[in-house]
Symmetry: C2
């Protein structure tokens, strides 16, 4: 599979070649062919302007064409076959089995959004018919529906090279809402990005859509900022670290015309194990928790990074069970050397706090206390270095008092690590929860309805998180109408939206109201006839009927 290494603007590889870079195979540490070239300012400008110019055409495209476009992207991705998976594997070290399921998820979510577009009711059509005789004033005919915002910049994630990248949930929901997309290739998987971008371009050709509705741009943070700053950019979707997400939010807010950014910036995903659950199901929870912490080498936004449980013999047993669950755990290669380095640094900071100790699991020496100095990456076998790219999972232990005191313990370490916090009494659960920032998820393990006695904990969590789980593990994120993947800041930049599930397209849509329009000039969704039997709110009542 031949890669050209160029940005793709409106279906065509660009000819200008900025600074070159290569993807790194994280397993070997060696660069991969070919060279990729950062986009120029002119490329960025042409990509966004092309999106803006073709926005009107995409808006006026029949829904059926847009639905087929999304389905065709899925088909084109599937047609790339194992060549695509091999390239992703080379760029990310994610195993083929995982990539197969990620591909299935990516294609399923493209088809799910095709279904939403075909159904059509997502536009939330609302019609208030004229009341010409109303006193003291007549009411005009008012008809409102959601329409796309305009060009959407998609800044994908490193950890889902398909499902949250060039043709991932952000792109699928933007296209579904009728918005053109300019995606920036993540520098950790530029080859994957090129293959998927060509699949999107081929899909546009196949259904007869103008190629201008999609571009792929190569580059780093400066290019990302240029895309966000461009006057014709209407909205931004980002998945990644807090630092990068916050920087983009700040750029968007400082524009002459600020634009919405949905940044999903992850978090700690706290887990609370209530006493009865700990007593009854400690071993099972330990096993499930360890699997959740280490899934994909801990590189999930929803990885449980902190676990609260009550001090005592059951906690001692749980720690022993966790140690047992972990005893055969292998290390793993992280997505990029930089991510591994950041992980080890973040974990190190946590481990250096007072009253924090590392559980002796997996025959891992306490690597955090040795082998690293002066900010350099550890070169010994327990850390990460040129000779040994594997990062081993670890679990640490601290007290509720220390957790409440230390800001460092509330920071995410993105990787296979979790911190157990021993609380002294059941009342401490709510207190600790109160010290958490906004989160994507929170999980409570309970048994025999003991949660009924922890209403305070539940109420605190309801204010802090986007998704609450009982007796589950947060790392599975279903793509469905009821999913919420987001949460109060800093989990996401705007708690009112989600990046997973069918509601994700609401990030990229705005209402427009047509007053006094003749039927002929109204969009189809607002016409009297309602030929597609959309569910609409007519004079305050939901109905699929036409208007007489």
């Amino acid at each position: 599979m031949k890669l050209h290494g160029l940005s793709i603007v409106a279906g065509q590889p660009v000819q200008s070649r900025g600074a070159g870079y290569r993807a790194i195979d994280p397993t070997s540490g060696l660069p991969l062919e070919p060279e990729f070239y950062e986009a120029s300012e002119g490329d960025v400008d042409r990509a966004i302007l092309s999106a803006a110019e073709n926005f009107a055409e995409l808006r006026r495209t029949p829904d059926e064409t847009r639905a087929r476009f999304l389905e065709e992207i899925a088909r084109q991705i599937e047609q790339l076959g194992d060549d695509l998976l091999r390239r992703i594997n080379a760029e990310t070290a994610l195993p083929l089995a995982r990539l197969q399921s990620e591909r299935a998820r990516t294609c399923a979510q493209l088809r799910l959004f095709a279904g939403v577009v075909r159904d059509g009711s997502w536009v939330d059509a609302r019609i208030d018919t004229a009341l010409p005789d109303r006193q003291p004033l007549p009411r005009p005919d008012l008809r409102r529906m959601l329409v796309g915002l305009g060009p959407v910049v998609v800044l994908g994630a490193s950890n889902f090279p398909l499902a949250f990248s060039v043709a991932g949930g952000d792109t699928a929901s933007a296209f579904a809402a009728g918005c053109p997309v300019v995606a920036k290739a993540h520098p950790a998987h530029p080859g994957t990005s090129e293959l998927v971008a060509e699949a999107i371009a081929a899909a546009a050709r196949a259904v007869g859509l103008t190629p201008g509705i999609f571009s792929l741009i190569h580059g780093g943070p400066e290019v990302a900022q240029a895309l966000v700053r461009h006057p014709a950019t209407a909205a931004v979707a980002f998945t990644g670290s807090y630092q990068a997400g916050r920087a983009l939010c700040d750029v968007a807010a400082a524009r002459p015309h600020p634009i919405p950014v949905f940044a999903e910036m992850s978090g700690l995903n706290p887990v609370f194990i209530l006493p009865e659950a700990l007593r009854q199901r400690g071993a099972a929870i330990a096993q499930g928790l360890f699997a959740s912490v280490t899934l994909g080498v801990g590189q999930f936004c929803t990885k449980p990074g902190i676990v609260f449980l009550q001090r005592g013999p059951d906690a001692d047993a749980f720690i022993a069970q966790l140690t047992a669950a972990a005893k055969d755990a292998a290390g793993g290669v992280m997505l990029t050397p930089k991510i591994a380095e950041h992980f080890l640094e973040a974990r190190q900071k946590i481990l250096e706090e007072p009253d924090v100790s590392v559980l002796k699991i997996n025959n891992v020496k306490d690597e955090s206390r040795s082998g690293r100095s002066g900010g350099n990456v550890s070169q010994n076998a327990e850390g990460f270095g040129a000779a040994e790219k594997q990062v081993r999972p670890s679990i640490a232990l601290t007290t509720a008092a220390q957790f409440v005191k230390s800001d460092v313990l509330r920071r995410e370490a993105f990787g296979p690590f979790s911190l157990l916090v021993l609380v002294d009494s059941a009342a401490d659960f709510a207190t600790c929860a109160n010290h958490l920032e906004g989160q994507l998820t929170a999980t409570v393990h309970e048994a025999n309805s003991e949660l009924a006695a922890h209403a305070a904990l539940l109420h605190v969590l309801e204010r802090k998180v986007g998704r609450m789980l009982i007796n589950g593990f947060p790392t599975g994120v279903e793509v469905s109408p009821a999913m919420q993947h987001g949460g109060p800041f800093p989990a996401a930049s705007d708690p009112r939206f989600t990046s997973v599930g069918t509601a994700a397209l609401l990030r990229f849509a705005r209402p427009i109201c047509y007053q006094g329009f003749p039927d002929a000039l109204l969009p189809e969704a607002l016409k009297n006839s309602n030929p597609r039997k959309l569910l609409r709110m007519v004079n305050g009542q939901p109905t699929r009927e036409s208007i007489a």
Copy 2:
């Protein structure tokens, strides 16, 4: 009606007294009794913390109580009777007839939101039931609904002392969404604000709600910023000028935890009169337009501030008709001396541009060219001064070429003024529209379906505005499900939301997803039984049925 002049925190007047100020009667220019006192930092802190502490209680209050609370606020406002209207009139110079209709609208919108709360379906409940046997992975039970964001700061408008102020649409929609409110009294109508705030406090007592869910704070821009900056503030609603709105957006975006601000910042509300409409209905349009421009002394967010029409004999006739329509137009007292001053300054800047001339209407001398110097307010009879508080309406004329060239001509002059732009050909309509910023509204006057030949104009406007009207005038803003009052920046800070109509409460709500919850622990809206027959999306299908 005795006023105490104090901020009201959680139902109680505060004892601390900051800097004192008095409302000004804009008709006489004289201060009104009593003195009002700016809130201290401590008052701001206590008001927001009280809102935050009582948020959980408000969330758990049955919808029926919240609905009765909104209705009781309306009843309490009505019970204030004409005393309230007299105070508003003294503070704003708005005539009693207008205030009667504004009161009716304010109470109607409180009752409308009560209906929304009682109906309950606004929470957009979505349920994906568990699929334990699904391959390759089971699906957990997922249930999602909207909940209130938390304490909302309401910064009301000067121009709607009831409908967009302390108990206006922002407050009604925040309470409807389950959010406590801290309102800042607009310094132009502090007495009105106190009366309405006491009505809200009395309503809370009447229905047994804790007084902590509402506070009224006196103060200027620094106090507004302190309210927006407070860590426990969850969202902000603002209606007013671009400068003030943008400043608040910047403060909110710079917080350690940014929060959503909905700022409605007005605009030009362009009107396009197509040739056939101009020929057939020029006189009627002139009359309606002039009434719309001068309604409430031009102090509406939706005042048509710019009008495009094609040069030629019909335009000459229209200008004569407009002059005729205006011949008996009286001047009016603006809401505050400062607003009048800003208006005259903004208008002056427009009139000083090249190729801009003033129509000789209403026997008004070209006041813009004389009587003002060095930024001082004109003291002559045509301007605004100590002896003569009236501002007279005026209309100016320019060319499309000048409009396209001059940023100044794209700025709002908030008051009884509109600018006619003569275009050379029908193609210029779309070109001019392209040079407009985001707008709350745009209006097209057409006849004999001539609009069908102006698809380009319609497409440009659809990208630029929140509400499009055909053959109407934008100054009436219906409060109904289909209304959209907002638009692309700078009309509003976020085009995805509205401040008028039932959808306004979506500004203050966020989704939360409950995964694997036992029925007993779910909120009522998500329980299997669905006792209130809410319209919910169950496994992707809208239904009012319960779940077996």
